[in-house]
């Protein structure tokens, strides 16, 4: 089995993986980071969204070996020293989750957006999260949370 070396939430990781393993399975089953979820397995729901080298991607559609040498950020990497990120706190403040299953994916899509575009318009936010489906909230609170997190403090 090949060995995969990459950076995960700012830490170097080295793990033996099957060549046909999905990044999603390596993150969840081999590395124990279960924040990233599987919703559909075919890239249509965004529950598995992670950030690879600044770009939000569906980890269910990513061969694990393809992230060799790259930086991967999962939802577990958002809080620093036990403090939630501004976006995570905004999601709580705006009641932008109910069952919570889609939430990590939304957090990663929105984090990727804000890292590239710190002050997005509502329309830009909608485009950025269009690849994430939520059955519970109706999306409005999520959009408000992202707008809130993008305001100058």
């Amino acid at each position: 089995m090949p060995t995969l070396n990459f950076t995960l939430n700012d830490k170097p990781v080295s793990v033996e993986v099957s060549a046909n393993a999905r990044l999603l399975d390596v993150i969840r089953d081999q590395l124990g980071l279960t924040g990233t979820k599987e919703g559909c397995g075919v890239g249509e729901c965004g529950a598995c969204t992670v950030i690879v080298d600044d770009d939000a991607v569906d980890s269910c559609l990513t061969l694990a070996m393809s992230v060799e040498g790259k930086n991967v950020l999962t939802v577990e990497g958002l809080a620093k020293d036990g403090r939630l990120s501004r976006l995570q706190q905004a999601v709580l403040d705006h009641h932008a989750l109910q069952c919570g299953y889609c939430t990590p994916g939304f957090l990663m899509s929105a984090t990727a957006l804000l890292n590239k575009n710190p002050h997005p318009t509502r329309e830009e936010i909608k485009v950025a999260i269009a690849g994430n489906l939520c059955r519970c909230t109706g999306y409005e609170q999520l959009i408000q949370a992202i707008l809130d997190a993008s305001q100058d403090e």
Partner: protein, 291 residues
Amino acid sequence: MREFSYVRPKTLDEALELMQLHAGRIRPYAGGTDIMVHLRSGSSRFDNLDYMMDLGDLQELKSVTCENGTVTVGAMVSHECVSHHPIVLEHAPMLAQACHTVGATQIRNAGTIGGNVCNASIAADSLSPLAAMDAVCNLQSKTASRSIPLAQFITGSEKTCIQPDEILVSLSFPSFKEWNTAFFKLGRRRALAISRITASTALHFVDGKITEARIAPGCVFVSPRRCTAAEDMLKDKEPSLALFNAIGEEVANEMVAVTGVRWSTEYKQPVLASVVSSALCMAAGISMEEE
């Protein structure tokens, strides 16, 4: 999921070497957004697969250039990159629009225009703008290179004439900077939607009259192509909703003539007419509202 070995060449030469060595048992992996779905469903297309070759390190396939009026887009350029690239926005805005409608941000960050073409789904969004521009597919193997028109490269639904030892390296087309272009996509929702019907149109104006036109519908022909009879009907005409509605019907009639009457014709015929008319109106900057 089928087992295979993973290889990741550092240069195009290395990649072509591998393609020749393992021809017929090796497959290029671009963004993975189609391959991973096919692998998961156990598609028979992977029955002979021993090697998955990741193209991710091949910088030679990632550039976008415009030289002497010809635009060349590397096969590994992502949909997200195509949709925002200044050269594409300037010389082929309908292609930027089309790539922007693919899936959603996560899909566009990973998926590539070359992968879109080689996967050759009838509903692939990049195909109709590329066809409208008479785009050419540039292919390389270790021993040869060739360029063939897109309409000939795609031979059927999910079928291309790529050889077992070949890689698509780029797509080329002339600049449409002086034209007004548009892309219209009809899907079941505004994102994460496989196209139901699309149309790409380009109009060239002199003194308010159309001198040349390009019309390429998507999702209706097994191989992407222009509707040249309808295009000719636009020459020397001034744009109007009535004219574009008539052209839309002409294109829809051509679809039926070419593909025959099918179970979907009752839906596709009027809808294609409307989609084409909409795309023409968008290109010409005129309203879809009846006066």
